[in-house]
């Protein structure tokens, strides 16, 4: 079973990997985006860890809804409401339980990913974070490690796609050949599950 401490670890290890990878995320965002993905997410996840330290919620759902709220209010770019909605909706789906199973997490995360698709209007293949998240959620039934692999493969698979959402979509065919920064950061979030579980 996964308790609030696991979910706080998930957020803090994700914040650390966003810190480590911020430059790479921004570099990926510079040919097809506005070159701020790394710094925006870094600011957001730093706010998440600060908020979790200040008032650590006692339930898995509480951790994720607090984290989602922080991302919406501090990121400043489109990744704020998208990641914020992902975590908040996942947190709400987990409810007030003190501990949740891996299966419940998979189910809640699917609700979160569905909410992101509704908010942004993106589907798989649009070259967005969805291309990492959907395969990750599908693989989460097997293990965290399988989800991490699926997310990383999903992120890499965005390279030959043409962007149909966000600023990159204005570039049309010129967006082809670049790995999507949002799918790349989504893979970091999913990789955080493995690290939080100590696997």
């Amino acid at each position: 079973m996964l308790d609030a401490a696991f979910f706080r670890r998930w957020m803090t290890v994700t914040a650390a990997s966003v810190d480590r990878e911020a430059e790479r995320l921004t570099a990926l965002d510079s040919p097809i985006g506005d070159a701020d993905h790394g710094s925006n997410l870094q600011r957001g996840f730093r706010a998440v860890t600060a908020a979790l330290e200040k008032e650590p919620p006692g339930t898995p759902g509480g951790v994720l809804t607090l984290a989602g709220r922080q991302l919406i209010s501090t990121v400043g770019g489109a990744s704020g409401p998208l990641y914020g909605t992902l975590l908040r909706r996942t947190g709400k789906a987990l409810g007030d339980a003190g501990e949740v199973s891996a299966e419940q997490l998979a189910e809640a995360l699917r609700a979160g990913v569905d909410a992101v698709m509704t908010l942004g209007g993106a589907a798989p293949g649009d070259k967005t974070m969805i291309d990492a998240l959907v395969p990750a959620v599908d693989a989460l039934g097997n293990s965290f490690t399988a989800a991490r692999t699926a997310a990383e493969e999903g992120a890499v698979a965005t390279t030959p796609l043409q962007a149909r959402k966000g600023r990159a979509s204005y570039l049309g065919e010129r967006s082809i050949g670049h790995q999507d920064p949002g799918a790349t950061s989504a893979a970091l979030l999913i990789a955080g599950l493995v690290e939080a579980a100590g696997e």
């Binding site: 919406i72 209010s73 400043g76 770019g77 489109a78 990744s79 704020g80 409401p81 966000g166």
Partner: protein
Amino acid sequence: MSDEQLVGIVLVSHSAEVAASVAELAKGLAGGGPAVPVAPAGGTEGGGLGTSSELIAAAAVSVDRGAGVAVLADLGSAVLTVKALLAEGDELPEPTRLVDAPFLEGAVAAVVTASTGADLAAVEAAATEAYAYRKV
């Protein structure tokens, strides 16, 4: 009609200057009717390009006169942040609507319509209709 509550308008742009200028232009073109409450919410809190949910929520509260708030947004994160705030449920005055409209033309249509004392649905319809005004 002087004591009628007017619909409030919030203009959300990636740029503080764009939001403020469009607000000024729309108010200027609204003429001599009652002053419509219009608030810009542009850029991030630090003054950079981007979107701030805090600025949006504060702007919406500042224009709320009880008749509802129409929000117009320019691009990407501005649209998504407003949608996320609306989904939150308790961040914006009730009722607040994200209006599907071109930013500048929609703002002018919304402010002019609101200045007549029109309700939120009429303001929304006028702003949305601005998409139909072809220029050539």
